[in-house]
Protein backbone atom coordinates (compact mmCIF):
# COMPACT_ATOMS: atom_id res chain seq x y z
CA UNK A 1 0.00 0.00 0.00
CA UNK A 2 1.39 3.41 -0.94
CA UNK A 3 2.21 5.95 1.70
CA UNK A 4 0.33 9.21 1.11
CA UNK A 5 3.65 11.05 0.69
CA UNK A 6 4.47 8.82 -2.30
CA UNK A 7 1.31 9.95 -4.03
CA UNK A 8 2.31 13.58 -3.44
CA UNK A 9 5.80 13.04 -4.90
CA UNK A 10 4.44 11.33 -8.01
CA UNK A 11 1.87 14.09 -8.40
CA UNK A 12 4.59 16.74 -8.21
CA UNK A 13 6.79 14.93 -10.77
CA UNK A 14 3.89 14.50 -13.19
CA UNK A 15 2.91 18.14 -12.78
CA UNK A 16 6.10 19.54 -14.39
CA UNK A 17 5.04 21.00 -17.72
CA UNK A 18 7.89 20.04 -19.99
CA UNK A 19 7.89 20.65 -23.75
CA UNK A 20 6.29 17.32 -24.54
CA UNK A 21 3.36 18.02 -22.21
CA UNK A 22 2.62 21.47 -23.63
CA UNK A 23 -0.45 21.36 -25.86
CA UNK A 24 -1.09 23.89 -28.57
CA UNK A 25 -4.55 25.31 -28.10
CA UNK A 26 -4.72 24.38 -24.42
CA UNK A 27 -6.00 27.08 -22.10
CA UNK A 28 -4.12 26.93 -18.82
CA UNK A 29 -6.72 28.88 -16.93
CA UNK A 30 -7.63 32.42 -15.96
CA UNK A 31 -5.63 34.32 -13.38
CA UNK A 32 -7.27 37.01 -11.26
CA UNK A 33 -5.28 40.00 -10.06
CA UNK A 34 -6.53 43.02 -8.14
CA UNK A 35 -4.80 46.08 -9.54
CA UNK A 36 -4.40 47.58 -6.11
CA UNK A 37 -3.15 51.09 -5.43
CA UNK A 38 -0.33 49.52 -3.36
CA UNK A 39 0.86 47.54 -6.40
CA UNK A 40 0.72 50.61 -8.60
CA UNK A 41 2.41 52.81 -6.01
CA UNK A 42 5.32 50.34 -5.73
CA UNK A 43 5.66 50.40 -9.50
CA UNK A 44 5.64 54.17 -9.68
CA UNK A 45 8.32 54.43 -6.98
CA UNK A 46 10.59 51.96 -8.79
CA UNK A 47 10.26 53.69 -12.16
CA UNK A 48 9.77 57.25 -10.97
CA UNK A 49 6.59 57.19 -12.99
CA UNK A 50 4.20 60.05 -12.50
CA UNK A 51 0.58 58.96 -12.75
CA UNK A 52 -1.36 61.28 -15.02
CA UNK A 53 -4.72 59.66 -14.40
CA UNK A 54 -6.09 56.60 -12.64
CA UNK A 55 -5.01 54.22 -15.41
CA UNK A 56 -2.42 51.49 -14.97
CA UNK A 57 1.00 52.46 -16.34
CA UNK A 58 1.51 50.56 -19.60
CA UNK A 59 4.70 48.90 -18.32
CA UNK A 60 2.65 47.08 -15.69
CA UNK A 61 1.22 44.84 -18.40
CA UNK A 62 4.36 42.80 -17.74
CA UNK A 63 3.43 42.50 -14.07
CA UNK A 64 -0.01 41.19 -14.98
CA UNK A 65 1.29 38.76 -17.61
CA UNK A 66 4.22 37.43 -15.55
CA UNK A 67 1.97 36.84 -12.55
CA UNK A 68 -0.48 34.96 -14.75
CA UNK A 69 2.32 32.90 -16.28
CA UNK A 70 3.82 32.02 -12.89
CA UNK A 71 0.45 31.09 -11.42
CA UNK A 72 -1.03 29.14 -14.31
CA UNK A 73 2.08 27.15 -15.28
CA UNK A 74 3.86 26.97 -11.93
CA UNK A 75 5.85 23.79 -12.55
CA UNK A 76 8.23 24.36 -15.41
CA UNK A 77 11.61 22.74 -16.05
CA UNK A 78 14.28 25.07 -14.60
CA UNK A 79 16.48 26.96 -17.03
CA UNK A 80 13.84 28.33 -19.39
CA UNK A 81 14.43 31.70 -21.02
CA UNK A 82 12.06 34.55 -21.74
CA UNK A 83 13.12 35.27 -25.30
CA UNK A 84 10.63 37.86 -26.45
CA UNK A 85 7.39 39.64 -25.75
CA UNK A 86 4.52 41.28 -27.58
CA UNK A 87 1.80 43.53 -26.19
CA UNK A 88 -1.22 45.15 -27.79
CA UNK A 89 -3.29 47.67 -25.84
CA UNK A 90 -7.02 48.09 -26.28
CA UNK A 91 -7.50 49.99 -23.04
CA UNK A 92 -5.42 50.31 -19.89
CA UNK A 93 -7.30 49.22 -16.75
CA UNK A 94 -8.12 51.56 -13.89
CA UNK A 95 -6.47 51.29 -10.51
CA UNK A 96 -8.70 49.17 -8.27
CA UNK A 97 -9.97 46.92 -11.06
CA UNK A 98 -10.01 43.13 -10.80
CA UNK A 99 -8.20 41.79 -13.86
CA UNK A 100 -8.77 38.41 -15.49
CA UNK A 101 -5.91 37.06 -17.60
CA UNK A 102 -6.33 33.93 -19.68
CA UNK A 103 -3.26 31.98 -20.79
CA UNK A 104 -3.15 29.73 -23.84
CA UNK A 105 -0.32 27.89 -25.58
CA UNK A 106 -0.51 28.85 -29.26
CA UNK A 107 2.71 27.46 -30.65
CA UNK A 108 5.46 25.06 -29.83
CA UNK A 109 8.30 24.28 -32.20
CA UNK A 110 11.61 22.47 -31.89
CA UNK A 111 14.00 24.32 -34.16
CA UNK A 112 17.79 24.13 -34.41
CA UNK A 113 18.10 22.48 -31.04
CA UNK A 114 15.86 24.96 -29.23
CA UNK A 115 12.35 24.52 -27.91
CA UNK A 116 10.24 27.56 -28.82
CA UNK A 117 6.94 28.16 -27.07
CA UNK A 118 4.45 31.01 -27.57
CA UNK A 119 1.93 31.66 -24.82
CA UNK A 120 -0.85 34.13 -25.55
CA UNK A 121 -2.43 36.13 -22.77
CA UNK A 122 -5.66 38.02 -22.92
CA UNK A 123 -6.51 40.39 -20.08
CA UNK A 124 -10.06 41.53 -19.46
CA UNK A 125 -11.77 43.66 -16.87
CA UNK A 126 -14.35 42.31 -14.44
CA UNK A 127 -17.04 43.46 -16.87
CA UNK A 128 -15.48 41.32 -19.61
CA UNK A 129 -14.20 44.17 -21.73
CA UNK A 130 -10.91 43.57 -23.54
CA UNK A 131 -7.97 45.42 -22.02
CA UNK A 132 -4.75 44.12 -23.54
CA UNK A 133 -3.19 41.07 -25.12
CA UNK A 134 0.30 39.70 -24.90
CA UNK A 135 2.47 36.96 -26.30
CA UNK A 136 5.19 35.50 -24.08
CA UNK A 137 7.86 33.95 -26.31
CA UNK A 138 9.87 31.40 -24.40
CA UNK A 139 12.66 28.92 -24.84
CA UNK A 140 11.59 25.92 -22.84
CA UNK A 141 14.38 24.16 -20.99
CA UNK A 142 13.36 20.61 -21.91
Amino acid sequence: MKHPSQDSLEHRVVDVVDFARLQVGHVYGVHELLLSSRLVDNWCRLYRHAMRDDRMPAGMMSVVSIRAFMALIPSRPPGGIHAGQQFTIEELPRVGELLHTQLCCVRKEARQGRLWVDLEMECRGADGRALFRGKHIALWAR
Binding site: R45, S62, V63, I66, R67, Q85, Q86, F87, L92, I137
Partner: protein, 119 residues
Protein backbone atom coordinates in the same frame (compact mmCIF):
# COMPACT_ATOMS: atom_id res chain seq x y z
CA UNK B 1 23.06 64.26 -12.99
CA UNK B 2 19.33 64.15 -13.56
CA UNK B 3 18.03 60.78 -14.69
CA UNK B 4 14.79 60.34 -16.57
CA UNK B 5 11.98 57.88 -16.07
CA UNK B 6 13.19 55.84 -19.06
CA UNK B 7 16.43 54.99 -17.26
CA UNK B 8 17.07 52.66 -14.36
CA UNK B 9 19.99 51.58 -12.21
CA UNK B 10 19.85 47.83 -11.63
CA UNK B 11 20.33 47.34 -7.93
CA UNK B 12 19.57 44.43 -5.65
CA UNK B 13 16.76 46.53 -4.20
CA UNK B 14 15.27 47.13 -7.66
CA UNK B 15 15.34 43.39 -8.34
CA UNK B 16 13.72 42.71 -4.99
CA UNK B 17 10.94 45.22 -5.64
CA UNK B 18 10.38 43.82 -9.13
CA UNK B 19 10.29 40.25 -7.81
CA UNK B 20 7.57 41.29 -5.39
CA UNK B 21 5.65 43.08 -8.14
CA UNK B 22 5.71 40.06 -10.45
CA UNK B 23 5.87 37.26 -7.88
CA UNK B 24 8.91 36.00 -9.79
CA UNK B 25 11.53 35.02 -7.23
CA UNK B 26 13.64 32.91 -9.59
CA UNK B 27 17.00 32.62 -7.79
CA UNK B 28 18.76 33.65 -11.02
CA UNK B 29 17.47 37.15 -10.22
CA UNK B 30 17.79 37.06 -6.45
CA UNK B 31 20.60 34.83 -5.20
CA UNK B 32 24.21 35.71 -6.13
CA UNK B 33 25.58 32.39 -4.93
CA UNK B 34 23.03 30.42 -6.95
CA UNK B 35 23.39 32.64 -10.02
CA UNK B 36 27.19 32.33 -9.98
CA UNK B 37 26.83 28.61 -10.59
CA UNK B 38 24.63 28.99 -13.67
CA UNK B 39 25.51 29.66 -17.30
CA UNK B 40 24.77 33.34 -16.60
CA UNK B 41 27.66 33.40 -14.08
CA UNK B 42 25.86 35.93 -11.90
CA UNK B 43 22.58 37.62 -11.07
CA UNK B 44 20.62 38.91 -14.05
CA UNK B 45 17.61 41.17 -14.00
CA UNK B 46 14.12 40.06 -15.00
CA UNK B 47 13.82 40.79 -18.72
CA UNK B 48 10.59 42.74 -18.33
CA UNK B 49 12.19 44.97 -15.68
CA UNK B 50 13.99 46.75 -18.52
CA UNK B 51 11.15 46.30 -21.02
CA UNK B 52 9.04 48.65 -18.91
CA UNK B 53 11.40 51.50 -19.78
CA UNK B 54 10.35 51.32 -23.42
CA UNK B 55 6.83 52.45 -22.48
CA UNK B 56 8.33 55.35 -20.58
CA UNK B 57 10.50 56.23 -23.59
CA UNK B 58 7.56 56.12 -25.98
CA UNK B 59 5.62 58.44 -23.68
CA UNK B 60 8.52 60.82 -23.10
CA UNK B 61 10.28 60.86 -26.47
CA UNK B 62 7.38 60.53 -28.91
CA UNK B 63 3.79 61.62 -29.31
CA UNK B 64 2.75 58.05 -30.06
CA UNK B 65 -0.63 57.04 -28.59
CA UNK B 66 -0.68 53.81 -26.60
CA UNK B 67 -4.10 52.49 -27.58
CA UNK B 68 -3.86 50.14 -30.55
CA UNK B 69 -0.09 49.98 -30.39
CA UNK B 70 1.67 46.63 -30.98
CA UNK B 71 4.96 46.33 -29.13
CA UNK B 72 7.17 43.48 -30.34
CA UNK B 73 10.56 42.96 -28.75
CA UNK B 74 13.28 40.40 -28.28
CA UNK B 75 15.58 40.10 -25.30
CA UNK B 76 19.10 40.29 -26.70
CA UNK B 77 21.52 40.33 -23.77
CA UNK B 78 21.14 39.84 -20.03
CA UNK B 79 21.13 42.88 -17.77
CA UNK B 80 23.43 42.66 -14.78
CA UNK B 81 23.51 44.09 -11.28
CA UNK B 82 25.07 47.54 -11.41
CA UNK B 83 24.08 48.23 -15.01
CA UNK B 84 22.44 51.51 -15.91
CA UNK B 85 19.89 50.82 -18.62
CA UNK B 86 18.09 53.38 -20.72
CA UNK B 87 15.40 53.09 -23.35
CA UNK B 88 14.94 54.89 -26.62
CA UNK B 89 12.48 55.23 -29.46
CA UNK B 90 12.90 56.69 -32.93
CA UNK B 91 10.76 56.73 -36.07
CA UNK B 92 11.33 53.75 -38.34
CA UNK B 93 9.15 52.62 -41.21
CA UNK B 94 5.88 54.58 -41.66
CA UNK B 95 3.58 53.86 -38.71
CA UNK B 96 6.39 52.30 -36.73
CA UNK B 97 8.96 53.22 -34.10
CA UNK B 98 12.19 51.36 -33.48
CA UNK B 99 12.56 50.80 -29.76
CA UNK B 100 15.45 49.57 -27.68
CA UNK B 101 17.01 49.36 -24.28
CA UNK B 102 20.78 49.72 -23.93
CA UNK B 103 23.17 49.49 -21.01
CA UNK B 104 25.86 51.98 -20.02
CA UNK B 105 28.33 50.20 -22.29
CA UNK B 106 26.01 51.06 -25.22
CA UNK B 107 25.16 47.41 -25.71
CA UNK B 108 21.61 46.81 -26.88
CA UNK B 109 19.86 44.49 -24.44
CA UNK B 110 16.32 44.69 -25.87
CA UNK B 111 15.33 45.55 -29.43
CA UNK B 112 12.08 45.70 -31.33
CA UNK B 113 9.33 47.82 -32.78
CA UNK B 114 6.21 49.68 -31.75
CA UNK B 115 3.68 49.66 -34.55
CA UNK B 116 0.50 51.66 -34.81
CA UNK B 117 -2.64 50.58 -36.61
CA UNK B 118 -3.25 52.04 -40.02
CA UNK B 119 -5.92 54.73 -40.01
Amino acid sequence: MERHSDELLITAEALSVYAELTDDYNPIHMDPAFAAGTVMKGVIAHGTLSLALIWQALARQTEAPQTGLLLDIRFIKPVRLGDWVHAGARPGLPGEYEVWVANDRDEVVIAGTATFPCN
